[in-house]
């Protein structure tokens, strides 16, 4: 059975991708957040533009900060957003 994950986007990532989130099926061999980002970039369209430079992005797996090397494992939600600017 294929694994899937909910992606959620915020701020300019959301605006530029044009969606608040989406559920995607993870292809076999997907281990890290980097693998997920690469899958998205390979889709083409606006994805490469928005997601290629991961230094400008921050990630959270099930609402905890994660890095591109973090293992997705059985997480159900991956959030992709720019550095935070609250306060």
């Amino acid at each position: 059975m294929g694994r899937s994950i909910n992606l959620v986007y915020f701020a300019w990532v959301r605006e530029r991708l044009g969606v608040e989130g989406e559920e995607i099926s993870l292809r076999q061999g997907t281990e890290t957040i980097d693998d997920v980002v690469n899958m998205l970039v390979e889709r083409g369209g606006v994805y490469p533009d928005v997601l290629s430079d991961v230094s400008k992005l921050r990630f959270a797996l099930d609402q905890d900060y994660a890095t591109t090397e973090s293992i997705v494992g059985s997480a159900t939600e991956l959030a992709i957003f720019p550095p935070v600017t609250g306060g």
Binding site: F10, V84, T85, G87
Partner: protein
């Protein structure tokens, strides 16, 4: 006692300070951040990640509680559309000691700026919009608390 609130509504500084003071201690520090007029700002929009925000703010408060002897911590952050002069964020800490209250308040603000999932988008008086970028000074301020 930790109180976290994320709301489109405004906060009442006097009331929030009184709630912290009720928990005892006698030393209450607070910080209020407001929308600053940079001469060209119409509105500021605060977006956040609802599922994560409370958790992230609570983790900051718990880290403060672990490092300083505090009776109470309140973190109130607004979201949605704000105008110049509007309140954005309130942090109140209560302790027996003024150093603990003031330092932990400073710590919470510094951490909040770099880890709480909020994003600010400015709309200028000419209608142009811009997402605020992370500031190096905020990153440095947050890093200085790392042990």
């Amino acid at each position: 006692m930790i109180r976290i609130e994320v709301s489109a509504c405004d906060f009442d500084i006097g009331a929030e300070t009184a709630k912290v003071a009720e928990q005892g201690g006698g030393a209450i520090a607070s910080f209020v951040g407001q929308v600053r007029d940079d001469g060209n700002l119409d509105t500021l929009e605060l977006e956040h990640y609802p599922a994560m925000t409370d958790k992230a703010l609570r983790a900051i408060a718990e880290a403060a509680q672990a490092d300083w002897p505090l009776h109470a911590i309140t973190i109130f952050h607004r979201v949605g559309k704000l105008s110049v002069g509007d309140n954005i964020v309130l942090v109140v800490t209560g302790s027996d000691h003024r150093e603990a209250a003031i330092e932990s308040c400073s710590f919470i603000m510094d951490r909040l700026k770099t880890v709480a999932p909020f994003w600010k988008k400015e709309t200028g008086s000419d209608g142009s919009t811009k997402w605020i970028e992370e500031r190096d000074s905020d990153v440095k301020a947050s890093e200085k608390w790392q042990k």
